[in-house]
Amino acid sequence: MLTVYHYLGLSAILFALGTYGVLTRRNAIVIFMCIELMLNAVNLTFISLSSYLNNLDGQIFVFFVMSVAAAEAAVGLALMIAFFRNKESVEVEDFNLLKW
């Protein structure tokens, strides 16, 4: 029998994979994609619980998460371009001006 726990488990795995990516990758765009992955893992949790509880609120929330993700993508990628223009690189090690 397919239960909500299956979905939650999958969500956990995807979230962990996203975390792993964020922590290990050097390319900012890939990190960005990993963040999207994490967001999607969370979305999956929302929708599965929403379906399980017969309550649409969770799905509405996903909707907003998506709009935030979209906004984030637009601004984040624009930042990436601006950064690349200055540094000829998108590696996060080069994003180190903001330090002591």
Binding site: A16, M33, N40
Partner: protein, 167 residues
């Protein structure tokens, strides 16, 4: 049958997600991510949320991923950048593992205490998912909805300003 199908889709999703993390070439990562998104869309359908699945495909797989791909292409990241594409693998794996274990334990120990609603799966099929979402979005969540619109507008303006040549 349903369970089997779930496992299949889940396997694909996990594998493609792993590809996202592990591919040297960002383009490959992006394509893998699209795959993950599709898998999730399938799962949404299984969860009786067809509209969300559609939006998932449209927004994520469509809009966002295309944008990312465009940027990758635009920046034309050469292979020399992929030499050392990752670092701290072991540490990252450990931390991510802890996160996963914790999440699983959290789910196991926790109780379902959410507020149950009255939107049954039959109703979804009967009335239509889109209509239900729409009803909720334009009545109860009207204000957040508008704010989301403003957020997107600001994001557009922000992106324009940031990406302009001379800032």
């Amino acid at each position: 049958m349903e369970l089997l199908f779930f496992y299949l889709v889940a396997l694909v999703a996990i594998l493609s997600a792993f590809m996202v993390v592990k591919c040297k070439n960002p383009v490959n990562s992006a394509i893998s991510l699209v795959m993950t998104f599709f898998c999730l869309a399938i799962l949404y359908v299984m969860l009786y949320a067809p509209f969300m699945a559609a939006v998932q495909v449209l927004v994520y797989a469509g809009a966002i991923m295309v944008l990312i791909l465009f940027v990758i292409m635009l920046l034309n990241l050469g292979p020399e950048m992929m030499e050392r594409f990752q670092h701290g693998v072991v540490g990252g794996a450990i931390v991510a593992g802890i996160v996963m274990i914790q999440a699983v334990m959290f789910v196991n120990r926790g109780e379902m205490a959410g507020i149950s609603g009255d939107v049954t799966r039959d109703q979804v099929l009967e009335v239509g998912h889109m209509e239900l979402i729409g009803m909720k979005l334009f009545t109860e969540f009207m204000l957040p909805f508008q704010i989301a619109g403003i957020l997107l507008l600001i994001a557009i303006v922000g992106a324009l300003v940031l990406a302009k040549k001379e800032v």
